[in-house]
Amino acid sequence: MNAQSHSGRLSILAAALVVARRDFTAILFSRTFFFFLLGPLFPLIVGGLAGSVGRQVDSSAGANADPVVAVAMAPADAQAMTRARDALSARLGEGLPAFRIVAPARPSAVMERHKVSAVLTGTPAAPVLSGPRERVEGWSGAVAMIAAQAQAGPLRPWPAVRIDATAARPKADRQAGLRTAQGAQTLLFLLTMMLAGMVLSNLVEEKANKIIEVLAAAIPMEAVFFGKLFAMLGVSLVGIAAWGAAGGALVLAAGPNVLQLPEPAVGWPMLIGLGVVYFAMAYLLLGSVFLSIGSLAATVREVQTISMPVTMLQVLLFFLASFAMTRPGSAVEIGAILFPFSSPYTMLARAAQEPALWPHAAALLWQAGWVALLVRLGSGLFRRRVMQSGPKVRVKARRRLLGRARPAPAGD
């Protein structure tokens, strides 16, 4: 038994990988992972059902989804107006109300009989648009343009416009980048909120199965924490890859008009790459705190109790990052970048607005340093509070916060 075919202790990274591999495969090959993958489907199904019910209600109520204007003019005028409308619509795209020629009559009678949104009477030179104020006021400009075209006759050819795209974005375009930044930030927040909470209950299994002592005797507690985080991050990335693939397929099937966000400052491939890296950082940062808090809970019920304030904390961070995004270069934005928990969100929004890449390298190093620090603090706290090892924590507030933690049972 004494022959040593191996020597030396495992490094923290190597030990973390042993733990991570076990956790990752255990979760990935469990039945529950399938339901985890299906998770985002449920809100989509609920949303679809709600939309369907809404349409049914609208339909039952006789609401007309597509605005139709009845043209109750003299036949020649009505024909001229309809031709002008079709000609303009072919060039301007959607946006003009549909026309339907009806026999001239009182507008209220036409609306009642033909179930239309508004009624156009008079002549192209003096058109009269009748209907509810909120509708007809919005259409008056379009109707005036159509009437003018009806008087002018056939459309003349329009000159072709040559496109000359520039790489640099004028500052005025930042507002457009803001939409992309907001979208990226929201997506990052939703994914982090959905997935980071999973680590809260991560060490409960070890404590319930009494495995924690085996782990603590063999490898440093930091390695256990890192291993757990890496495993859950891996599981999350697998989930995101699956959802991303499904979502991408849907977008491709639906056509290019589904997502019409302005090009981010760093370009789409770089933004997606940074999004993955910032997700990892946001996950590790929040996860290390959640893991530490969760590790002090003895039961799943305690973990559930902790979940609510944790979720509120995440929402607050998102608000901070969202606010900072609208104030580029301000002290608020710099503060949000420096504060580790809001840093990934703020920096991802910045990537959509500013093309420089070096700040991202610096931010990632900063965030990685915080991950290492938080894991060290968390594992130290776990050793002191749960394993009852090391100097006592003197901060009374921390004791109160974590007062329900129980030490690992010592037989004697």
Partner: protein, 330 residues
């Protein structure tokens, strides 16, 4: 926290002519919320020996083992495991079976053993190969691909014991290894522990069942009330209390009764008392002169159980006496 009081050189690890020590601990102290769970424990475990830590429930056995393995740090004192101050530095050379057994229920037996080896630095592939070998050798080959949750408690415990040994450690620490095993498997474990020691592995285990220690151990430490009132060879422990004399006489009474020690007790037809310091001969002469009519007389050496009860009982009584003034002072 002072975990290094005393110089390791001064504590005499592997002094000339002595067996080198696998474990050396001096003045280990651990408090939990002001309560001293371990109070100045000294241990010297020779390499290649089977060493027992004996003590009643709550004596401080598990806490001592946890400190030795680096799971928890002592508040003060000094420990040295296989020559290293930090047990984690020698994780690959140490095997540990905690009192609270724990395996992942969804893991297969082979994977569980390989995982425990991997935590100690054994490559997974090699761990799986050895796991299969170990399971076959110990009659559990049929359970190799079964999940832990599908095994009985005793079988799961055997799997964990094999996982403790899969990386071929030089020091194995078992905390209450026999609890949860049936008599047959307890016997198998005893054989396994002897085999390990024969191959040069140091085996240290805690138990409150003295019979196991008496059969297995070269040396024992008795822990009571967080202190170690005795540490040394089993024979020395047994000799620490006097042998018992068992006497049967024909005469129920007579002048010979005056020769019996004052603490002699009657047990049916027999008298029982500790062997006098002067030996048996003067007593024999006095009994014969007093016409006791000796039918039988035997001298019984104390067992480890008797020694344990006497030593641990006395230590507990002392601890109680010491605690009274402290309690009153509070």
């Amino acid at each position: 926290m002072d975990t290094h009081v005393g110089d390791p050189q001064e504590t005499g690890n592997a002094a000339e002519g002595q067996v080198p020590l696998a474990i050396e601990a001096r003045a280990l102290v651990k408090r939990f919320d002001g309560f001293k769970a371990v109070d100045g424990v000294d241990l010297s475990v020779p390499q290649g020996s089977v060493y027992g830590i004996l003590g009643p429930n709550g004596a401080g056995k598990t806490t001592t083992l946890r400190m030795l393995l680096g799971i928890i740090d002592p508040d003060s004192g000094y420990r040295r495991i296989l020559g290293a101050d930090r047990p984690h530095d020698l994780a690959h050379a140490i095997g540990y079976l905690p009192e609270e057994r724990g395996l992942y229920p969804s893991m297969k037996a082979t994977e569980a053993i390989a995982f425990l080896g991997a935590l100690r630095g054994l490559p997974l592939k090699e761990g799986r190969r050895r796991a299969h070998d170990l399971l076959e050798r110990h009659g559990l080959g049929y359970a190799a691909e079964r999940q832990i949750r599908q095994l009985s408690k005793g079988m799961a415990q055997q799997v964990q014991i094999l996982g403790t040994l899969v990386h071929q450690p030089r020091l194995v620490v078992f905390d209450e290894p026999f609890s949860g095993l049936d008599a047959l498997n307890q016997g198998k474990l005893e054989v396994m522990m002897r085999d390990l020691a024969q191959q040069g592995t140091t085996v240290i285990f805690s138990t409150h069942v003295i019979a196991h220690a008496e059969r297995l151990c070269d040396e024992v430490a008795i822990i009571a009330g967080g202190k170690v009132p005795f540490a040394g060879p089993v024979d020395v422990a047994r000799d620490s209390i006097p042998a018992q004399v068992r006497l049967e006489t024909r005469a129920g009474d007579g002048p010979w009764r005056a020769a019996l020690p004052a603490d002699a007790q009657r047990e049916g037809q027999f008298w029982r008392f500790p062997l006098p310091d002067t030996g048996i001969e003067p007593l024999l002469r006095a009994l014969i002169a007093g016409e006791a009519g000796i039918l039988s007389l035997s001298i019984e050496r104390a067992g480890l159980h008797d020694a344990f009860v006497a030593i641990a009982g006395a230590a507990a009584a002392r601890a109680l006496e010491q605690a009274k003034p402290e309690e009153a002072a509070r």
